[in-house]
């Protein structure tokens, strides 16, 4: 094959074939175009504001390394006026995180960004190695996902940062869209596809400017970037990143979705962005999504169950009557168990997570709308639609050496997007098996 010239400069030899539009680019034009597109995403979505401190969730992997590099470049080039810091979570998995944390430490020097490493052990008193020792390899992703979610928020709060950016890319989002589709979990799509997720308290506390670990905004600047281009960007800019695979997690379901996406990409490279687009469009059609909810604050709520690219929320599938029925059901259940907690700002009473209720409800309300309402965990204060947040529930189980007490039904395959709500899990029992 004769070498093709670059489609932009018409001078250099093309080295990159862009998956989204088949454009052939040379190395400098590719790097410029890649950066310009991320800049466009950031400005079009108004992701940052001047003076903002932003924590980059950094794992040492390709995505977060490219994110850190690109954001540093753009912040300098376009004078965003933001302060970038690195935040890494140490799950406490020997032979997995150790090496990647070394990479993050080098990145901190290379990009001249302060780095904070926060460990599960200091946050929760358990490393993942210890958790696995306790609960075994099956289901440990549940713990890891729930813990990581909170860990990033807690780390951000500790740093006095209100905004965390993560390296989720288009392939990740497409993968999660497919997973939610295959699980029949359409309500989760709107969160999966949102470029920004935030919490009600983020809105409430915006004026005070005092971050706590429930009001952290999340965004995904690489949401439209192909994994292929991220890897090529890292390669051509010779970025220092670390590739590894978690030693514990086979993540069978996510793995299958990933393989499907990659197979599709080979046949039709635009498929990845097309799936992302479809996910966005479907999210708009789903009752309880951002569009429909408006300012109600029901769709952009980030609970501790919400991972970087998705969560359960607003399972409104049955319309208003179903909502009402559900509420009544919840009232009944709440009364039955005498655990009602009144939160004045809430429209509906809290749901509770007593395992007993799980069986109770799953037989009576097989699949009904759930309007999540946000309150705070009575133990740790973390934003939660439950009395006790998911992490505290899991921890209680661990600490009582009864690790499988309440998580038996939780789907474990989805650690990045975290796990479902216990109450939702009741409804999902029949669907989410892997």
């Amino acid at each position: 094959m004769a070498p093709s010239p670059c489609a932009l400069c018409h001078t250099n030899r093309a080295l990159i074939l862009r998956p989204k539009n088949h454009q052939k680019l040379c190395k400098p034009c590719f790097i410029n175009t890649f950066e310009a597109e991320i800049h466009h995403i950031i400005t079009a979505n108004k992701l940052f504001h001047r003076g903002e401190r932003i924590a980059i969730g950094a794992s040492g992997g390709k995505d977060s390394t490219v994110l850190a590099s690109v954001l540093k470049t753009l912040n300098e080039r376009y004078d965003y006026g933001v302060e970038l810091v690195l935040l890494s979570i140490d799950e406490g998995i020997k032979g997995y995180r150790d090496d990647s944390l070394e990479t993050v430490k080098r990145n901190a020097q290379q990009y001249n960004m302060p780095l904070t490493i926060l460990g599960y052990s200091e946050l929760y008193g358990w490393t993942m190695d210890q958790v696995v020792e306790q609960v075994g390899k099956k289901g440990n992703c549940t713990y890891c996902g729930v813990f990581r979610r909170q860990a990033l928020d807690r780390g951000a709060a500790k740093l006095g940062v209100q905004h965390v950016v993560t390296g989720h890319n288009a392939d990740d989002v497409a993968e999660t869209v497919l997973m939610n589709l295959l699980r029949g979990d359409l309500p989760r799509l709107s969160r999966t596809t949102s470029i920004v997720t935030s919490t009600p308290s983020a809105v409430a506390n915006a004026e005070s400017g005092v971050p706590n670990h429930t009001n952290i905004k999340r965004s995904k600047p690489l949401k439209y970037a192909y994994e292929k281009e991220i890897v090529l960007y890292a390669h051509h800019k010779q970025l220092d990143y670390f590739s590894t695979e978690c030693i514990y997690s086979p993540e069978a379901f996510r793995g299958s979705a990933r393989a499907l996406i990659k197979n599709l990409e080979r046949v039709r490279p635009s498929a990845i962005l097309d799936v992302v687009k479809s996910g966005e469009d479907m999210a708009r059609l789903i009752p309880g999504s951002d569009e429909r909810c408006g300012t109600g604050g029901c769709a952009t709520n980030t609970t501790e169950e919400a991972g970087g690219c998705g969560s359960s929320q607003g399972r409104s599938t049955g319309g208003e009557m179903a909502d009402m029925e559900k509420r009544l059901q919840q009232n009944d259940n709440a009364a039955d168990h005498g655990l009602e907690v009144e939160i004045t700002t809430m429209k509906t009473p809290r749901k509770k997570n007593a395992p007993k209720k799980a069986t109770h409800a799953s037989t009576q309300v097989p699949r009904k709308a759930v309007n999540q309402t946000m309150g705070q965990c009575t133990r740790c204060g973390y934003l939660s639609s439950q009395n006790v947040c998911k992490a505290c529930t899991l921890l209680e189980g661990l600490n009582k050496s009864r690790p499988k007490a309440s998580i038996g039904q939780v789907d474990a395959e989805d650690d990045e997007t975290s796990t479902s709500h216990l109450s939702n899990t009741m409804n999902q029992v029949g669907i989410s098996g892997d």
Partner: protein, 121 residues
Amino acid sequence: MAAEVDPAEVQTEQEEDVEVIPLTVEFSGGLEMLFADKKVHAIGLPAKTPDGKASNIAFLVDQVCEHLMEDDRKELFIQDDSVRPGILVLINDADWELEGEEKYEVKKGDKIMFVSTLHGG
């Protein structure tokens, strides 16, 4: 036809048969773990395939699996007789799709890179 062939020419052909093309093969993005955790390998690839065709990427991949891979999980590198989707192939830094993919005939000194995009951080 065989009778008309100059014996010297036959000799030359035989020499070409064993001729090897020096190449650099690199594995990264987590793929190196299948190759004794070594990223860069300097190898000599026979210039011709057993059926006498010029060596191309398909043949290289085949040979690499046979001689270089130290892990028995071949499926992490190969799927349906080709490089697994999600693994990028760069021929002298250019996307192999710009170079004819598996049909690209390797040349002396080529640098062939296999980069996995499948591994996390």
